[in-house]
Symmetry: C2
Subunit: 449 residues, 2 copies
């Protein structure tokens, strides 16, 4: 019977002394002329299965060309070994190399390879243990996010990616057209947010979310920026700033907890090779009340440590840099922290203008190691206020008339946020470079494969 | 207590005689000077909740400006009415119009509006009953697909959308760059498939899938083509053609069944306004063995009905048009049908070349009403065969060297397919135009909002 390693290691006792067939890839080989041990991984689990080949059962000539990375199919009797470190092993009766192997020089061997070198081979690096773990956690986190929203009664809504208006009002957009440069009837860009369209859908469905690729023609080559990344954007009608902050915190806490519960082996590995306190730190965050302070207060707190920053010019109105955001989360709060009510000049046009005339009902969730993980706001529901702000920013009103029109009919106000999926994955795994949590990362001047 | 209509209508008896608060939108108003009935929908359910306002409890002046489409919040005592057609009603004690309503001329009123007119207002049309149903089913189908793959042990893998090579070898691609036309280090397009990259990830993870937006600079303005749509692409190492066909059929049957079970009210509505046999037809397909014939046999069958087609030139090597595909599914098999082993000239370069020298191990799943729903294949795992085919097609080998290299190390062969999400949704809902199953559709010369 064809089985997976995952099935076997969940209930090894049920497979004890049974004949199983496994298809997978060789991750290690050792032995002598009489007995060989092959470590096999089939992608279903982080764990390998040890396969024992004995020369009296198997013709060892067949194994002569065997090398790490090769695809094989083996059959044999599984023995559960609860007394040993590994959960069991297979005494191989049949053994077959599958497919073609033109060379034994598979780039992924068992010696250490630097992350930088692995980035040059995105088509192979997931066959190392570290990247198997990262990509498994990526997949697990991905699903938990969909599950969270589904259980909370959200409608998954597909915002368009090809758009004729630029949600954030920033200039860093990609332009799209076909070869003849005449496909669309207007200038078309890759959307930087699904929010404006999500607002339309929140009116009527109340709770909607999008989870889709997002694009920024981002020239800064930092370890947390990519030209293509996935973003989670919920939008909820009738919600104000406090309610959307509560949702944001709940989402992050819930999906992290679920991923930790479902991926014990992967976290054990990450803690072995990296941050020993990874799970302790994450669970501490999941179980605690998240602190919340105003931007104004954040500036005050940062000013007390002015000397520690490269950018020392801190005042009401200053844009917080990553160093400031990280200092708040890492040094001052030692935990994720929510900052609210930013000066309106720092934020997008669509945010609810507070009565003080200076700030908007925005929030950022800052986390240790990364800085901004989530940015969100209560939206400006007042037609005139919104229009006034758009005029101030010299925006093209015509392009956004449909968005303004959402304020005309049954709009009780809405709030939402954007959560960078890869940044969340970086936070969960403690992986420091966004290029290492995306299968085929795209950055400025860099598009491999 | 703030409740949703969905919560109440699942267990109305639990809410009987309890005070509830509901936030939602007015979908209908009738009544007189003493009693008013408001139909309220809050997006959580297809069903509306009837709210009864009596002039001795509520100041009717407050309702004077009330109009369809407005957002309101009501509180009152819910009464379960199992004896009546509706599941219950609320006797309103408090009533508040939320947000701003600048005009009573909400474009969605209760009279019939044509689909064509609704297409001009994608930001409002989901507030009609038909589009509420379609988009609810879209969300439900979306989640069931992720659930299916998760339960089957697949890894969700994000293929890059920005690519420097064109998977299908077709010319219909969008070109991407920033304003200065120098963002990337090579010509960059919006990917038309995630398959090539998924093949890399299937090596090591065995079972992977992507589910993401896909783009085609498709100039043909048909009812089933869009420039932006979502595609589901699984790829499984060790699988051959027969195994991947089995997965494709199982996926479609399973998700359709789940969606039918979970969305009874929505299907009841679709059957009332459209195809009365919708569920019967879908379930019949889900419960039956799907027929499978070769392309060669399909041509033979079609030749017997040559007169019925606009394109009568049918021969071994002819590209099947939608009319032929639909005829096979609708008239000959009266059910979805799988066609295999197409002539290699009709299919992409990466498909396994059969021993006959003429055909490739490809398959299409054709369904009534649409034609091709799924296209897939076993991939060519033999390096030389693949290279030879790429030379024949005068492809730029250098661009695809990484893809060729996947054949060098532990490649047991793999198979996969692409399933157009919106086409599946069209099949499930019986909606005939792809523009009506995408929130904000994008087609040639047409980008609204």
């Amino acid at each position: 019977m064809l089985a997976t390693i995952s099935e076997i290691c969940v209930h090894p006792e049920l497979h004890d002394q049974k004949k199983v067939t496994i298809q997978g890839w060789v991750t290690n080989i050792r032995g002598n002329l009489k007995i060989m041990f092959i470590e096999l991984n089939d992608g279903s689990s982080f764990k390998n299965l040890q396969c024992v080949l004995k020369s009296d059962l198997i013709e060892f000539e067949k194994t002569e060309n065997l090398a790490i990375g090769m695809a094989i199919e083996i059959s044999g009797i599984f023995s559960n070994t609860p007394e040993r470190q590994q959960f069991g092993e297979i005494l191989v009766e049949n053994f077959e190399i599958k497919g073609h192997n033109y060379s034994a020089n598979f780039p992924i061997q068992n010696q250490e390879i630097s992350l930088e070198i692995l980035r040059q081979m995105p088509h192979f690096r997931h066959r190392t243990r570290l990247f198997r773990v990262i990509m498994k956690l990526r997949s697990s986190l991905f699903y938990e996010i969909h599950k969270f929203f589904s259980r909370q009664g959200f409608i998954n809504f597909s915002a368009p990616i090809l758009t004729s208006n630029d949600g954030e009002g920033a200039g860093e957009v990609f332009i799209v057209d076909d070869e003849k440069k005449e496909f669309f009837n207007k200038k078309t860009t890759l959307g930087v947010t699904g929010q404006l369209h999500a607002e339309a859908y929140a009116l009527g469905f109340k709770k909607v979310y999008t989870f889709a690729p997002t694009f920024r023609a981002e020239r800064s080559n930092t370890r947390k920026h990519a030209a293509e990344f996935w973003m989670i954007e919920p939008e909820v009608a009738f919600y104000n700033l406090e309610q959307i902050i509560e949702l944001a915190v709940k989402l992050v806490q819930k999906v992290i907890k679920s991923v930790i519960i479902r991926n014990k082996d992967e976290f054990t590995f990450l803690e072995k090779v990296g941050d020993k306190n990874l799970r302790r730190r994450l669970i501490q965050f999941c179980d605690s009340q998240v602190s919340q302070i105003s931007y104004e207060k954040a500036i005050e707190l940062l000013l007390e440590h002015q000397d520690k920053f490269e950018e020392k010019d801190l005042f009401f109105g200053a844009d917080l840099k990553t160093e400031h955001e990280r200092f708040l989360a890492e040094e001052i709060f030692n935990s994720p922290v929510v900052i609210t009510n930013y000066p309106k000049a720092l934020k997008a046009f669509y945010m609810h203008q507070n009565d003080d005339g200076q700030t908007v009902a925005a929030f950022d969730l800052l986390v240790p190691g990364i800085g901004e993980l989530i940015g969100g706001s209560q939206r400006e529901v007042r037609y005139e206020k919104l229009l006034e702000r758009m005029h101030e920013l010299k925006m093209n009103i015509e392009d956004f008339q449909w968005y303004l029109d959402l304020r005309k009919f049954g709009n009780p106000g809405s709030s939402g946020f954007g959560l960078g999926f890869e940044r969340l994955l970086m936070y969960v795994t403690s992986i420091e470079n966004i290029r290492d949590v995306i299968p085929f990362p795209r950055t400025n001047k860099n598009i491999l494969m």
